[in-house]
C-alpha cells in the first residue's frame, strides 16, 4: 500500500524526467541517424579523402564509451572555449555515438544489396548517385531497420548516463528523490519500470517490423 502511495508521489517528477529522456533520445536519433547514413556512405566511398575521415569518426565514436563522450562534451569542451548546456551536451554526445553505431548497421544493410543489382544499374546507364538513391539505400535501410530500432532501445537506455552531467532525466530525478527521501530502492525500482514501459513495447514493435520487412525481399 505505502509503496504505491510513495510511487504516486514520485510519479510527477519521474514523468517529467522520462520526458527529458525521451526528448534527448529522439534528438540523438534525429541528428545521429542522417549522420550515420552519411558516415556509412563515406566509409564505403571510393575516394580516400572521404573514406578515411569517415572511418576515423566511426572508430572513435564506437571506441569511446558513451559515458566518456558525454563527459568530454560537458566537462571537457568548456576548456576549449565551447560551453554547452547539459541538454545540449547530452544530445550531441549521444548523437555522435548513434551516428557511429548506426553507420555500421547501415553499412551492413547497404552491403546486403546483391552485387548483381548494382551491375544492372551500371548496365542500364544509371549514375552512381541514382543507384545509391533508388536501389541501394532503400533496400539497405529496409534491411537495417530492425537492428536500428534495436539500437534505438539501447540509446534510450543510454540517456540514463546523462545523470552524470546533471541532466534532469529519469535516472537523475530518481536519484535526487532518493537522496532526499532515502527511499532509493522504491524510487529506483519505479524508474526501472518506467524505462521498461518504453523499451519492452519498442522491442516488441521491432520484432513485428522485422517480420514485415522480410516480405518482398526474398
Amino acid at each position: 500500500m505505502t509503496v504505491l502511495q510513495d510511487w504516486l508521489g514520485f510519479l510527477p517528477q519521474l514523468a517529467s524526467g522520462l520526458w527529458v529522456s525521451v526528448v534527448v533520445c529522439l534528438a540523438a536519433i534525429v541528428v545521429g541517424l542522417p549522420l550515420g547514413l552519411a558516415l556509412a556512405l563515406g566509409s564505403s566511398a571510393g575516394s580516400r579523402a572521404l573514406r578515411w575521415p569517415a572511418i576515423a569518426v566511426v572508430e572513435i565514436g564506437r571506441g569511446a564509451p558513451a559515458l566518456v563522450v558525454l563527459q568530454v562534451f560537458y566537462f571537457g569542451l568548456p576548456s576549449a572555449g565551447l560551453t554547452l548546456s547539459s541538454t545540449m551536451a547530452a544530445c550531441l554526445a549521444l548523437a555522435l555515438t548513434t551516428a557511429a553505431y548506426t553507420s555500421e548497421i547501415i553499412r551492413g544493410g547497404l552491403q546486403a544489396v546483391p552485387r548483381g543489382e548494382l551491375e544492372a544499374t551500371e548496365a542500364l546507364g544509371m549514375s552512381r548517385p541514382d543507384a545509391l538513391r533508388f536501389v541501394v539505400i532503400p533496400q539497405g535501410i529496409r534491411v537495417a531497420i530492425p537492428p536500428l530500432m534495436g539500437f534505438g532501445v539501447l540509446i534510450f537506455q543510454a540517456t540514463s548516463l546523462a545523470y552524470t552531467i546533471a541532466l534532469p532525466e529519469l535516472l537523475g530525478r530518481a536519484y535526487s528523490i532518493g537522496s532526499s527521501t532515502f527511499q532509493y530502492l522504491s524510487v529506483l525500482a519505479l524508474a526501472g519500470l518506467m524505462y521498461a514501459a518504453v523499451t519492452i513495447p519498442a522491442s516488441l514493435l521491432t520484432d513485428r517490423v522485422e517480420r514485415r520487412m522480410s516480405r518482398h525481399l526474398a
Binding site: 544492372a120 551500371e122 536501389v135 529496409r142
Partner: protein, 262 residues
C-alpha cells in the same frame, strides 16, 4: 510485336554495329581474353558458345565495360573506346546508352514493382516523365506477355517472368544492341522456352543481339553468326549451320559432341 523496337532510320544513319578489336583481359597472371576480335553487323544475331571458363561472359561484359579490358578497342555505333586509355564518364554513358544487357540472374530490383523496375531507369537515364515511362513500360510488358503483372513484385513472379521483365527493362531504354549472358541457364526448361520465344521475336524484328548461350538449338536456329570460344580465344566463327555440321577445329568438334550428346 508489330513495330520494330529500334528506329531503323536512326540506326542506319550511324551505320550501327559492334566491333571489338584485339581485346586482352587478364586477372593477374591468368589471361582470360587473349587478343579477341569480333564484329556484329546491324540486325545480326550473334551467338557465343564454348566450354565453361572460356571467357564468354568476360567478353560480353567488356562490351559495356562492366569488365575493363587491359587493352583493345570497343566500338558500338558512334562510340569508340580505347580500353588502354582513361575512359571519361561521358564516353561510358554514351556506350551504355546504346547497349542493353540481360543477366543470367535477372538482377531485378526486388523492392520495386515490375512496372517501376522498367520505368525507373527510363526516368533517370532518359529523363522521361513518370507517365511516359510507365506507358512505355506497359507497352513492353504486353509485348513480353506480362500485361497483367505491372503491380506485382519480382519475388512473386516465376523465373521466366522475371527474365522477361528484365528484357523489357533493358528494351525500354531503346538500346541498339542487346547483350544476353545465358539468359535461360537459371530457368527450368519450360520457363526457358518463354524467354527464348521473346528473344526469337526480338531477333525477327531486327534487333542486334549478342547472346552467350548453352542452348544449342537457339544458337543453331536463331543466330546468324556463331562464335565458338575456348581458353580465351575464338576457336571458330561463321555460319551456325556450317559449324554445327562440319566444325573446322578438333576442339570445336569435341565441344559440340559433348554438349549435343547430353
Amino acid at each position: 510485336m508489330a513495330q520494330p523496337v529500334t528506329d531503323p532510320a536512326a540506326a542506319k544513319s550511324t551505320g550501327m554495329d559492334v566491333s571489338l578489336e584485339h581485346i586482352v583481359k587478364a586477372y593477374g597472371e591468368h589471361v582470360v581474353l587473349d587478343d579477341v576480335s569480333l564484329s556484329v553487323r546491324e540486325g545480326e544475331v550473334c551467338a557465343i558458345i564454348g566450354p565453361s571458363g572460356a571467357g564468354k561472359s568476360t567478353l560480353l561484359r567488356c562490351i559495356n565495360l562492366l569488365e575493363r579490358p587491359d587493352s583493345g578497342t570497343i566500338r558500338v555505333g558512334d562510340t569508340t573506346i580505347d580500353a588502354g586509355q582513361e575512359v571519361g564518364g561521358k564516353q561510358l554513358h554514351g556506350l551504355r546508352r546504346q547497349v542493353g544487357m540481360v543477366f543470367q540472374s535477372f538482377n531485378l530490383f526486388p523492392h520495386l514493382t515490375v512496372l517501376r523496375n522498367i520505368a525507373l531507369p527510363q526516368e533517370r537515364v532518359l529523363g522521361r516523365s513518370r507517365a511516359e515511362a510507365e506507358d512505355r513500360a506497359m507497352e513492353l510488358l504486353q509485348r513480353v506477355g506480362l500485361g497483367d503483372k505491372p503491380a506485382q513484385y519480382p519475388s512473386r513472379c516465376s523465373g521466366g517472368q522475371q527474365q522477361r521483365v528484365a528484357i523489357a527493362r533493358a528494351l525500354a531504354l531503346d538500346p541498339k544492341v542487346m547483350l544476353f549472358d545465358e539468359p535461360t541457364s537459371a530457368l527450368d526448361p519450360e520457363l526457358g522456352l518463354e524467354v527464348l520465344a521473346v528473344m526469337r521475336e526480338l531477333a525477327d524484328e531486327g534487333m542486334t543481339m549478342i547472346v552467350v548461350t548453352h542452348e544449342m538449338q537457339f544458337a543453331r536456329d536463331v543466330s546468324d553468326h556463331l562464335i565458338v570460344m575456348g581458353h580465351g580465344t575464338v576457336l571458330e566463327e561463321g555460319q551456325p549451320e556450317k559449324i554445327f555440321t562440319d566444325p573446322a577445329t578438333d576442339r570445336t568438334r569435341r565441344f559440340l559432341r559433348a554438349v549435343l550428346e547430353r
